[in-house]
């Protein structure tokens, strides 16, 4: 029997697109955050998590460094920093 090939739901998680990020990445300052969730809503990768104020964070395994979160944060609490820098 020759079975149809099947993909599993959400299996894209296996693909770590963080490696595509070559220049900048977002640094979550966690200082003035008001938990408006805009960064969470706007991230095209869906790789930002957080609930309370100053808990928001990006999963660098997937973050492509687009900078949208930094642009959208009403409190400028996210900054794009060169790849080398630490969080």
């Amino acid at each position: 029997m020759y079975a149809p090939l099947i993909t599993k739901p959400g299996s894209s998680l296996e693909r770590k697109t963080g490696s595509w990020r070559t220049n900048l990445r977002p640094k979550f300052l966690q200082k003035d955050c008001i938990a408006c969730r805009l960064c969470y809503l706007i991230c095209p990768e869906g790789c930002i998590s957080g609930k309370e104020k100053n808990t928001f964070i990006s999963d660098y395994n997937y973050c492509k460094g687009c900078g949208l979160c930094a642009g959208v944060c009403p409190k400028d609490d996210i900054e794009m920093v060169p790849e080398g820098e630490t969080k």
Partner: protein
Amino acid sequence: MKEFLEGSRTVARTVRLCRPGVIAAYPITPQTHIVEDLAQMVADGELDSQFINVESEHSAASVVLGAVAAGVRAFSATSSQGLLLMAEVIFNIAGMRLPLVIVNANRAVSAPINIWNDHQDSVTVRDAGILQFYAENNQEVADLVLLAYRVGEDPKISLPALVCMDGYILTHGHEVVDIPEQKQVDKFLPEFQPVVKLDPENPETMGYLGTPEIYMETRYALQETMLEALEVITSASQEFERIFGRALPPFYEAYKLEDAERAIVAMGSVAGTIKEVVDEMRQEGQKVGLLKLITYRPFPADALYEALENVPEIAVLEKAISMGAFGPVYTDLKASFQGKEAAPKISGFVIGLGGRDVSKDSIRRVFEELRGPQTPAKFMDVKTELVTA
């Protein structure tokens, strides 16, 4: 129960027995009576099915694709231009391994536009991975619809099937048919158990991008499954006979072939006319015979070789041609013989295009011409002077 019915109605009645949950079709002559009958059954509450009046055949095929993907048995019917317009979807359905049945009322293709019978429409999609069956008469159409669902839905196969019936000749022909009982059909055709389906409880991703890493494997699997279908057809045909008490030969019907010195290979209703001529010529002492091909895809190459290896002169009679080459069945059959021990003379004849009537006389002439030199694609019954400038 035996009844005297129109071919289209025979199909509609049989389809109803198969309990499809979704029917989508677009009207095209000479398929219309089939879907009209089904529409009436639904309007009368005699058939519990969603009947979708789509806006094109491309969408008809897409609607049944969606329905089967959602786990429901589905049916469609079309013809000619409609089938050509579906071509893209049919390859897709096959590639997605979605079982469903489409009845094709065989009709010529444009241009010029012509609503009468030949086989150019269905043979054109022979590469797609859809099973193809051709019926001689309306009983066979009905039986093949049942067989097609059964084989296509077999989890080992999970492929679409096209049941071909000659436009007008069968679709609009009334004759005696035996319509089976619902409980017989339910036995032969258990509830549809899809191999994959769309279901929030178990969310599959269907129809993904097939990169070069795996694409060829899916095609290989399709080809191997097609060949596996030869076995499944054989066992289903045995089961068919057990349940319905009527034979339905899996690949072909051999008619007076054992000792034949000349034989015709043909598909569809013309086989009946050929049988008549075979009987007449046999009476005259001529050893002629017929191989009626029923299963065209998968192509039962080995079985055909065995059936025909002892016939020295074979004519393939076709209602289609690959322009600039030969008839499709002729080509497949020749390919199955080339390089084998038996090397009969196999000639190709193109006949009955666009409703050109095939008379007993035409058939006799084919048997006669067959004795002459091998011909690759001889057109019968044409007034060549009409088109020679």
